[in-house]
């Protein structure tokens, strides 16, 4: 059970998944990560942070229908 959320992949996450975005079904960020890592085992090698609706998450969060999740590998600006 869960909600359909939009997942955006950036940087190395985009290369490892071969996608810039997709819809996944999950009830919280923990279960979303499990779904994602099962689908893309190579993502296990990547350290990343998660943004929920454009806010950086510092702990796990419940997901609502149509939430926007972003997978953020280490930032490389500058």
């Amino acid at each position: 059970m869960g909600n359909v959320v939009r997942v955006l992949y950036f940087g190395a996450a985009q290369e490892l998944t071969g996608k810039s975005s997709e819809k996944l079904n999950a009830g919280d960020t923990g279960s979303l990560c499990r779904v994602m890592l099962e689908k893309y085992p190579s993502m296990r090698t990547l350290s990343f942070r998660i943004a929920l609706n454009r806010n950086l998450l510092r702990e796990e969060s419940v997901l609502m229908e149509n939430d926007e999740i972003a997978i953020l590998p280490p930032l490389q600006g500058g």
């Binding site: 972003a70 953020l72 590998p73 930032l75 600006g77 500058g78």
Partner: protein, 133 residues
């Protein structure tokens, strides 16, 4: 979506001079500090970097940059204006990919705030790069 903190391609000398003239109407700004970050032609595993392709989470970059500007203005009372511009897309080695410009009444706050803004940009701006050889 138009983003005021991101620009497609390199940050050109023309853009830098245009942004610099923005502060000219503020006669109380006695100091302008500018940091320009450029793409280096590093050698990685025997291959020379010729360009970097930058990508960004545009909507979040806008929000984060606004937060950085507010934080810097709150931390340095003499600061008048903070400008951040980062490239997206391809920037060749030798070209500029980041501009930070801070105006303040005096040099102490303009130089320190410019450095502080730079460190915050490195930590918070959702931008990624891919080397092109």
């Amino acid at each position: 979506m138009k983003n005021r903190y991101l620009v497609g391609g390199p940050i050109t000398p023309l853009l830098i001079s245009e942004l610099w003239t923005l502060g000219n109407d503020d006669a109380g700004a006695g100091a302008v500090s500018i940091f320009i970050g450029k793409v280096r032609d590093d050698e990685v595993n025997g291959r020379r970097v010729t360009a970097i392709e930058y990508s960004a989470y545009n909507e979040m970059a806008d929000k984060e940059a606004e937060e950085i500007v507010k934080t810097v203005q709150a931390a340095f009372s003499d600061v008048r204006k903070v400008i951040i511009v980062h490239s997206t897309g391809i920037v060749r080695a030798g070209e500029a990919s980041l501009l930070i410009m801070v105006t303040a009444g005096h040099r102490d706050h303009s130089t320190r705030a410019c450095r502080h803004t730079l460190e915050m940009v490195k930590e918070q701006l959702p931008v990624w790069k891919k080397e092109i050889y």
